[in-house]
């Protein structure tokens, strides 16, 4: 196992590009005769985190953990219910769409589904050019140049730019998505499960590309995925989400080598692995994820936690600094 420390992990880096404080996103549930709001789906529930310039923060969680919603709220594609989002120290929590427009240049998103995330009626050139049209005053030729540059960067033939998305394979479409996201030279990119829909061999291609581009363009990634292996591969730090909360966040070595939260432990153990020697003892969790509209009291994980005790059902554990930049929300570590 060669571990190349490609970057010094930003344990000391204070250059925060994004800061999220107590962010909440509740979706109302309507009910009753008058269609009143009778409850909320707490998709993101009191999340605070920092993303440092140049790093990749991985967010892992199962479906329903709120990780995608978090990504979208951070980009203000959804309005937060409560909390604060600071992008480059600017509060963007309550900016209007118009006010957001110049900021959007610096923050972009790559989606999961390479079939749904590209407008099928636009050619590759139009797709990649669109951000330039919306955000810049470049003339046609300049835009064309930029498009060609970025196509080259993501490994697509410039001759392909008159084609339409349906003419490309999943991997290539994801490259187009990446090109579209990067053409404005953003500082920060939310990658929402960008490789989940791809085959293994293609996944590797795209992951390599993303890593290369990060180095080249000095990007900061918020990398959302349910695949712990992929997250481990690409991230510098990893946050584990469960039912809209962060259960544990730490630099990747910390979290993969000594996971503290029982959920992280179970999650890691459940990954089937090719390497016989490193196979962990399986911790099979009982039951399903509880509904985010009605999360358990206290610690949301207590219903499935093999180590739960009385306190867990009463008090909600807060993220606690365990040193080494390792934070965990669990009463075991009080």
């Amino acid at each position: 196992m060669t571990i190349t420390e490609k970057k010094v992990i930003q344990e000391t880096n204070n250059d925060t590009i994004l800061e999220v404080n107590n962010l909440k996103k509740y979706f109302p549930i309507k009910g009753g005769v008058l269609r009143r709001t009778v409850g909320h789906v707490k998709a993101v529930d009191d999340v605070s985190l920092k993303v440092f310039r140049g790093e990749t923060l991985g967010i892992v969680g199962e479906s329903g953990s709120g990780k995608s919603t978090l990504g979208r709220v951070i980009l203000r594609l959804l309005s937060p219910t409560d909390g604060q989002i600071l992008f480059e120290n600017e509060d963007i929590t309550s900016k209007s769409n118009r006010q957001l427009r110049p900021i959007r240049k610096d923050m972009q998103i790559v989606f999961q589904d390479p079939y749904a995330s590209l407008n099928p009626s636009m050619s590759v050139q139009e797709l990649i050019e669109e951000p330039l049209i919306v955000q810049t005053n470049l003339d046609k030729n300049e835009r064309k140049k930029k498009v060609n540059e970025i196509l080259d960067k993501v490994g697509l033939r410039t001759s392909d730019q008159l084609k339409y998305p349906h003419e490309f394979s999943g991997g290539q479409r994801q490259r187009i998505s990446i090109a579209r996201a990067l053409v404005l030279n953003p500082k920060f990119v939310v990658c929402d499960e960008p490789v989940s829909a791809l085959d293994v061999s293609i996944q590797a291609q795209v992951l390599n590309l993303m890593a290369d581009l990060q180095d080249e363009l000095n990007l900061t990634y918020l990398f959302i995925s349910h695949d712990l292996s992929v997250v481990k591969h690409i991230s510098d730090r990893v946050a584990v989400m469960y039912l809209g909360r962060i259960a544990e966040v730490a630099p990747k070595r910390e979290i993969y080598e000594k996971p503290l939260h029982p959920y992280t432990q179970a999650l890691l153990s459940s990954i089937p692995t090719v390497d016989k020697n490193s196979r962990r003892e399986k911790i099979i969790l009982q039951g399903d994820l509880p509904s985010p509209s009605n999360p358990p009291s206290g610690c949301p994980f207590r219903t499935r936690c093999p180590k739960a005790f009385d306190l867990c059902s009463e008090v909600r554990p807060e993220l606690k600094d365990m040193g080494n930049n390792h934070y965990v929300a669990c009463h075991l570590y009080e």
């Binding site: 009910g31 009753g32 008058l34």
Partner: protein, 320 residues
Amino acid sequence: MYQYIFRRILVFIPMLFALTIIVFALLKAAPGDPYSKILDPDLDPSVLEEAREAKGYNDPIPVQYFRWLSMAAQGDFGESIRYVGRDVSELILSRLPNTLYLGVFSLFVTLIVAIPIGIYSARNPYSPLDYFATGFGFFGLAVPNFFFGLVAIYLFAIQLGWFPSQGYISVSNSGGFGGFLDRLHHLVLPGLTLGLASTASYMRYMRSEVLTVLGSDYIRTARAKGLTERTVLYKHTLRNALIPIITLFGFEFGAIVSGAVITEGVFTFPGIGMLLLESIGNRDYPVIMALTLMFGLFILVGNLIADILYSIVDPRIRYD
């Protein structure tokens, strides 16, 4: 569920209320009144004026409307103007069953024709019968139904004498099963005419739904369980394919009436469609208002029934 129905009904009320206002305004905007049509040199026009006065047609329109509304709220829709001495509710009720028979019959025919053929076509796409059914489907949607009705009368009633051309019942009808058959006999031509277009569209719907369902994962599961093709088709496919059809069916409930106007006219079938047409021509305000309210209610209830049926057939749908 009950909450849902209750809520929907709450929504009906303002809609129907608005409907009555609009219709009343429309009626008053249209020139003429029930008496303006009476042209009789023997008749002193001042009598008509007196009659107008007596019926309150010279009052300000809002006054007339609220008079109507307060009566209607008590369930009294007044007396027909043209059908002198006939209570509107009684008049409508005497016609309603005929239209219902016609509608039910045509829906029934539609279903028993459209569903099996639709299924067959989906099972055997591009077979001769499929092509025939498709052709029929297109034909059914392309032929104006009054025209179809006339040709049907000409061929089947007059030339061949198989079915009565007019009316809804024989005089000798004395009820019982014979009476039932007699009614059916009268319903055949108008029923087919009324149902032609919907049969055609149901057939096409059914075909495409069955094709869609046949391609779904759970049908593969059903086959993998070793179920026979029959079970797969009639249990697993049909139930799912019927979901959108049933929804259509509910909407059709309200649409019957509008389709019936023309069909009833062609077959002099004394139902509410014809009554509506006549009443409009005669400006029989009380009848039009009551009919409008009823049709509005029909359509709304039809939609509600569609929703309810939908939730019954498809357990995934829950209204609350």
